[in-house]
């Protein structure tokens, strides 16, 4: 079977996801301006420990090999280690994303003692100024301290996870050097206009020239740099496709479970339109994955729409569904960052009031400076 045939099979969906993301909580100590899940405050409907364990039992039965845990900040959950240990005990490896705030020397030791565990520390700049502008004041130092704790504890190769923006794209070499220095592996992913990212998209998303820069950098340095296949829209730039399956896996090989158990097509589309059901529904996660109307629909052949006549469609597959959705572009239209330039026209055509607003906003209320004066 050729790779093309395999990809066609995968588009029809699998019996269980290959890559499942589970945001454990909407609570977060940070308020990153591009947060995909608009996290901040805990949702009172959050899955309980027992409910979470029941989901893990199901994933075990489905032979899901590993899960990607995120949030919010997943380590905020009091049962974080309990769930981690339960998952690994059931043969489900865990990779979790964290801002590092809760990794002290003792926790680093505990994490280092666990098998089948990967950790991704989020960092969006190789200096505090660049990073903190996006992730909040002090977050650079926090991440670096956590990385140091992991190194001291002998955790081994953790990951440094970077969302590529207009402001850190020139630091890719420095990120790679930093990772090498820490005995870590670099992971870079694409910025999405999802969650609070919808508000920061226009200021943060890489320019056309920078798209080319990312592609060229990945062709040169891509070996041993993880991308979660997130840059497949760049494949139209050259003969050499970037490593990976080059397809949108939403609802086909990928999905998201959010903190209250709702199941979405992917981590970038927390919106009713892409909600397939809930793990709390009759039949649980398996039923949603196998039977939901949304996922069934996503597994049917998709129309190339406006991109059908473009010679690059096979290479870029029309790009990212979520990026189109939250910029108001029709799902069969071009990606807003289409390297052929069609995205800019489409973005302009979709006036901003047409773009659907992200849902499930858990952002903390904005602080109003209060002056306590004396009479």
């Amino acid at each position: 079977m050729s790779k093309t045939q395999l990809v066609e099979q995968l588009k029809g969906g699998l019996d269980a996801p290959i890559c499942l993301t589970w945001e454990l909580t909407y609570a977060c100590n940070l308020e990153c301006v591009h947060c995909l899940s608009s996290s901040g405050r805990r949702d009172p409907r959050e899955l309980t420990t027992d409910e979470a364990k029941a989901v893990l039992d199901e994933l075990h039965d489905l032979q899901v090999f590993y899960i990607n845990i995120g949030g919010g900040e997943p380590m905020i959950r009091r049962d974080f280690f309990e769930l981690l240990e339960y998952s690994i005990g059931r043969g489900i490896g865990v990779k979790f994303s964290t801002n590092g705030a809760f990794i002290d020397a003792a926790k680093a030791k505990r994490l280092a003692s666990m098998e089948y565990l990967d950790i991704q520390i989020s960092l969006d700049g190789t200096d505090a100024v660049t990073n903190d502008a996006v992730r909040g004041e002090g977050s650079y130092d926090t991440a670096i301290a956590a990385m140091q704790h992991l190194q001291d504890a002998g955790f081994g190769e953790f990951k440094i996870s970077v969302v590529v923006t207009r402001h850190n794209v020139d630091q890719l070499d420095e990120f790679k050097a930093l990772a090498a220095e820490c005995g870590a592996q670099l992971r870079i992913t694409r910025l999405r206009p999802s969650g609070r990212g919808a508000d920061s998209w226009h200021d943060l998303h890489p320019t056309q020239a920078q798209q080319r820069q990312i592609y060229d950098w990945l062709v040169l340095n891509g070996e041993n740099v993880l991308t979660g296949d997130s840059f497949f829209h760049l494949n139209a730039l050259g003969e050499e496709p970037l490593p990976g399956l080059n397809m949108c896996g939403a609802g086909r090989v990928v999905c998201l479970i959010d903190p209250i158990g709702d199941v979405y097509a992917c981590p970038f589309v927390i919106h009713d339109e892409f909600k397939a059901g809930s793990v709390r529904d009759q039949g649980g996660f398996s039923h949603v994955w196998k039977q939901s109307d949304l996922f069934t629909e996503l597994r049917e052949p998709q129309s190339a729409g406006a991109c059908a006549s473009c010679g690059s469609f096979d290479a870029c597959q029309g790009g990212c569904m979520a990026a189109k959705f939250f910029t108001g572009i029709p799902l069969d239209g071009p990606d807003p960052e289409c390297v052929g330039g069609y995205g800019e026209t489409a973005t302009l055509a979709a006036s901003s009031n047409q773009a659907p607003k992200p849902m499930m906003d858990h952002s903390k209320p904005s602080r109003v400076a209060v002056t306590i004066g004396r009479r």
């Binding site: 079977m1 045939q5 699998l14 090999f65």
Partner: protein, 83 residues
């Protein structure tokens, strides 16, 4: 290759899929697609046999197809799925 004794790495899990199977190595975190049900059958049968040739024969794989199976098994060995 034909004379080699191979077995599935103890840290590898196979998940049946319509196209064949997914193989996941819990140690090196590699995920590999076994893109033909016959390859899956051969891989699952390695454990009970002394050599690759014996496995292929036991699985009734046509000799004309042996070179492609040798290639597939070599690739799996390179990614440490087999040892």
């Amino acid at each position: 290759m034909l004379d080699a004794t191979l077995a599935l790495h103890p840290q590898v899990a196979l998940r049946p899929e319509p196209f064949g199977a997914l193989a996941y190595h819990y140690g090196n975190r590699k995920l590999i697609f076994l893109k033909h049900p016959d390859v899956v059958r051969v891989v699952r049968s390695l454990d009970g046999t002394a050599t690759v040739a014996e496995t292929l024969a036991a699985c009734e794989i046509d000799q004309a197809r042996w070179p492609s199976f040798e290639q597939a098994l070599t690739n799996l060995q390179t990614s440490e799925m087999l040892q």
